[in-house]
């Protein structure tokens, strides 16, 4: 059974059709790519999946459950993690604190009386989980610096780690390579693959860095002007003429 199914998602803004009848599915433990040129509707589609933008038509089903009436933060609790295209971190907090907040939200230690009773200190278990995530992403050396002092590449990893700490089944990555140089992008791909293997999660990757997508993704969907123009195994799709024209530029 597919983990996430989007069926005939349609969205128009003031007469402009941003998404027309877009369908997509992600299986468990699978890395799926969603590519397309700028303005193709990738981010809008993303926002539709997360409930930030309301759909005009279509359904989004996660683990067999229709998400139409589920608010954004609840989707996160159901197991959909995400990162942002323009990096969004909690300013003033350290990476470790980012992970601890996410951990707390996940394990539901949010009640006020628990804070008052236990003085709210992180437990040994919580610290261990945060440390494990810091190790996994290889950012333990900067764990206690405020995020403002970190480079963009590390910031991306903190975002990914924060999403992973909520124990998601699916992580949506919104252009994780944007703003990174070639070397950083390759490092990110290596880490993502390691994380995916270890945590057994599914990833929906929105990208326009073709090499990055190729190195990670088994299956890919291509959007152009709000319509799905191709989908299938990565190698086949990148060989498709329409895709090359719309997106890669006709290099042949």
């Amino acid at each position: 059974m597919s983990l996430l199914v989007a069926r005939s998602v349609t969205k128009t803004f003031a007469g402009i059709t941003a998404l027309a009848d877009v369908s997509l599915d992600v299986d468990e433990r699978e890395i799926v790519g969603l590519i397309g040129p700028n303005g193709a509707g990738k981010t809008t589609f993303f926002n539709c999946l997360l409930g930030i933008v309301k759909l005009d038509a279509g359904t989004v089903i996660f683990e067999g459950r229709d998400l139409a009436r589920v608010p954004t933060y609840r989707r996160a609790r159901l197991g959909i993690g995400r990162t942002f295209q323009r990096i969004e971190l909690f300013s003033g907090m350290t990476p470790r604190e980012h992970f601890l907040v996410a951990e707390r939200v996940r394990n539901g230690r949010g009640a006020l009386w628990k804070d008052i009773l236990f003085l709210g200190r992180p437990s040994a278990d919580e610290n261990a989980r945060a440390n494990a995530m810091l190790e996994l992403l290889d950012i333990a050396s900067v764990a206690d610096r405020p995020v403002e002092s970190l480079s963009l590449g590390v910031g991306r990893l903190v975002e990914i780690g924060r999403a992973l700490m909520t124990g998601p089944k699916l992580v949506l990555l919104d252009e994780p390579s944007s703003g990174l140089d070639r070397q950083e992008t390759e490092g990110l791909a290596v880490k993502l693959r390691a994380v995916q293997k270890e945590q057994g999660i599914a990833i929906l990757l929105v990208e326009h860095d073709v090499d990055f997508v190729r190195s990670l993704v088994e299956r890919v969907f291509v959007l152009d002007f709000g319509t799905l123009i191709a989908s299938g195994p990565t190698s086949e799709v990148f060989a498709d003429d329409a895709v090359r024209r719309a997106y890669l530029g006709d290099l042949v």
Binding site: L50, I52, P71, T72, Y73, R74, A76, R77, G81, R82, T83, F84, E88, L89, F90, S91, G92, M93, E97, L100, V101, A102, R104, V105, R106, R109, G110, A111, L112, K114, D115, I116, F118, L119, G120, R121, L137, D138, I139, S141, V142, R145, P146, E148, S149, L150, S151, G153, V154, L157, E159, R162, A163, M165, T166, Q183, E184, E186, G187, K191
Partner: protein, 689 residues
């Protein structure tokens, strides 16, 4: 029918003034990003100057009018813009709000030093014989003042339209209104445009201030500041963006107010209480139901990201040695002062200590809501009043144990806080603050007057509690001081536990980045309700103590809405993020009352007055000085206390390093140097590490 027309016409004259103020508010907001809460205070200045010149000194009307509206008012706008608001362009929305709050508190108090503390009667309008009424249609009366107000407003609006449509300055203002950054890119000095806009807005405020005076028959600060609430409703109705809507809204609210007022039954308690509360109800309803405000956040400066991050709290970076040293010193100072106050000092110092402990408890609610959640709540005093009234009512009328009544009061306030947070949930920043202000004013004008809330004509008496064999009665203020300190310690521990715990972390995350917080499953709704309820409960406990201490619920002056504003300004400028910030704000305020009023003022009287006569120093001296302190907020959003702490920490660290270096030269990495904060620098990329 004639009655209705008459009401509409007199409503038009109110409405004209509201419209002027609303247009000014929108114009200021759009050109400088500042919602000027102190706009009514600016109008008050012009009204007072006009009154002084015209009535007290008998100047001719045109001269007094020109001086008040076209000289003093733009000058005030100029000074405010140059001295304060120009520097707030890139400041946080909270910093802007706090600065205008401080002005709202300080301007009337400063003005009253010169104008006199009491409302002045015998106002005159801008036309001779203003109260002469015309009677053109038989039974419809219109006074000359009404006609003048409507006429002047029409002229002002025509001139404004002309300015915007046909002059270069108007064009620039329209451009700045659209996008200040774009305007600057096009080579226009946005600062200059903003300055002109401030002066223009200030003239509008002045015009409104002068026109308003005859409508109220008295020049009093209260009239101006509450009137602006209506103008705020009109401005909010216009989404703070549309000048025509703001104008129409002001006019409409004025007419509506008069008409509704005329048709409300006059004989019921509810009606007589509702009447003065209409402006606040309208503001509250407009805030909640205006669709343009849904989920609207204030525009932050897109370039704010290039600002350096705020420094971490001093306590989190200092070495263990310094932390322990500071704590030791703090405990020592507390013990010495406590010992002195208990056994040696005059009894009025014990009063200072009690007042400080109670105020600190109330201020901790500001630590929770502003320091932790980043929201400015303008009804802290109202929450305190709810606690005080509940305690008094339960204890006096139902014989409930006073301490139990205090707990019930806190629970009730928490409920009210949560209920208030519910409709205000979709509002952010300034709009949430306005909703809390509207609630405070509503409570003040309606609820308190009910017998079962405020106790009717006399303040509701409140007994001191008894606990087992201990009786905290008035003869033993010592035991009551202990009670207050115990409560303060408990509340402080709770606040610290919450700040360090999940709730604090979640609030910090929400405050730092709401979309990111939602992405990991944090519900802003739940967090905000929690924080409002908690803050209200803490304030209510403090309010109950205050009522017990004074023996009655003295709503005025203890819990009036003005107190909320002043308290917020005070705590925020001292430091709203830490518990000691709240405590020191309270100590400072309580001690100020005694030290300045009992020591400094007599000294001035004896040594300065013979040389320079300046009249008796006002009781509001503390308010003026302390609220002016808030202007430091934009520069030091962490608060004066935290700023000084960081500075002294740096100095101490330098001293220790120097000492260490001297002692073991040749060991560059001493133990302390290792724990000292590292300078922040960009981390290396993960690939290279």
């Amino acid at each position: 029918m004639q009655q209705l027309i008459s009401n509409i016409l007199s409503g038009m004259s109110y409405g004209s003034v509201y419209a002027l103020l609303a247009v000014g508010l929108v114009l200021t907001y759009k050109t400088s990003g500042i919602f000027n809460l102190a706009y009514g205070a600016q109008a008050f200045v012009a009204g007072a100057v006009y009154f002084d010149l015209r009535v007290r000194h008998g100047l001719p009307i045109p001269l007094a009018f020109v001086v008040a509206v076209f000289i003093i008012s733009p000058l005030l706008g100029l000074v405010l813009e140059r001295a304060l608001f120009r520097h707030l362009r890139t400041a946080s929305p909270v910093a802007r709000l706090v600065t205008t709050l401080a002005l709202l508190v300080a301007i009337p108090q400063i003005l009253k030093l010169w104008f006199g503390q009491n409302p002045q009667y015998g106002t005159q309008g801008i036309v001779p014989g203003g109260d002469h009424a015309y009677n053109p249609f038989g039974t419809v009366f219109v006074s000359r003042d009404d006609l003048a107000t409507i006429g002047i407003t029409i002229v002002a609006v025509v001139l404004l339209t002309f300015l915007f449509r046909y002059t270069a300055l108007g064009l620039r203002m329209r451009a700045v209104v659209e996008s200040p950054r774009m305007t600057e890119l096009a080579g226009i000095d946005a600062d200059r445009v903003s300055m002109s806009a401030w002066m223009l807005c200030s003239v509008l405020a002045g015009l409104a201030g002068v026109l308003l005076a005859p409508l109220f028959a008295a020049v009093s600060e209260f009239n101006y500041t509450t009137l602006v609430v209506v103008a705020m409703s009109a401005a909010v109705l216009a989404g703070l963006t549309s000048i025509p809507v703001a104008f129409a809204g002001g006019l409409m609210l004025g007419v509506m107010g008069e008409v509704v007022d005329a048709y409300l039954p006059t004989n019921s308690v509810i009606a007589s209480n509702l009447r003065p509360a209409l402006p606040f109800l309208v503001l509250f309803l407009v805030l909640i139901f205006s669709p343009s405000l849904r989920n609207r956040r204030e525009l932050a400066d897109p370039l704010a990201g290039v600002d350096p991050p705020p420094p971490p709290p001093a306590a989190s970076v200092r070495s263990r040695f310094l932390t322990n040293g500071t704590r030791g010193l703090g405990v020592l100072a507390g013990v010495v002062v406590g010992y002195y106050v208990f056994f040696h000092a005059a009894s009025n110092w014990r009063d200072v200590a009690i007042l400080a402990a109670i105020l600190a408890t109330i201020f901790l609610s500001i630590t929770v809501i502003t320091g932790m959640a980043g929201e400015i709540c303008l009804c802290i005093a109202t929450f305190a009043a709810i606690g005080a009234c509940t305690t008094a009512q339960l204890a006096t009328r139902f014989g409930v144990s006073v301490l139990l009544a205090m707990v019930v009061g806190a629970a009730l306030a928490a409920l009210v806080g949560a209920l208030l947070a519910l409709p205000a949930l979709r509002l952010g920043g300034i709009f949430l603050s306005l909703a809390t202000l509207a609630f405070a004013l509503f409570f003040e004008n309606v609820m308190v007057k009910f017998d079962w809330v405020g106790g009717g004509a006399l303040p509701e008496p409140t007994p001191r509690p008894t606990f087992g064999s201990v009786n905290f009665d008035t003869t033993s203020n010592k035991s009551f001081l202990v009670l207050c300190l115990v409560v303060l310690v408990i509340v402080s521990v709770v606040v610290i536990a919450i700040r360090e715990g999940t709730t604090g972390r979640v609030l910090a995350a929400l405050g730092a980045n709401e979309p990111a917080a939602a992405s990991i499953g944090i519900s802003a709704t739940r967090a905000r309700i929690t924080v409002f309820a908690l803050s209200a409960a803490i304030a209510a406990i403090g309010g109950s103590l205050l009522a017990m201490y004074e023996g009655a619920v003295n709503y005025n002056p203890d819990f009036v809405s003005f107190q909320s504003l002043f308290w917020v300004v005070l705590v925020v400028s001292i430091g709203s993020r830490t518990v000691e910030g709240a405590i020191q704000a309270a100590i400072g305020f309580a001690a100020f009352q005694i030290v300045v009023l009992n020591e400094v003022v007599p000294w001035i009287n004896n040594h300065v007055q013979p040389w320079y006569h300046m009249g008796p120093p006002p009781q509001t001296l503390a308010i003026i000085l302390l609220s002016l302190g808030a202007f430091t907020y934009a520069k030091h959003p962490e608060g004066v206390l935290e700023y000084q702490k960081r500075k002294s920490l740096d100095a101490a660290q330098r001293g220790i390093d120097w000492f260490k270096r001297g002692k073991d030269a040749g060991h560059p990495t001493s133990e302390l140097a290792g724990t000292a904060p590292e300078p922040l620098r960009p981390a290396s990329a993960p690939g290279s590490s």
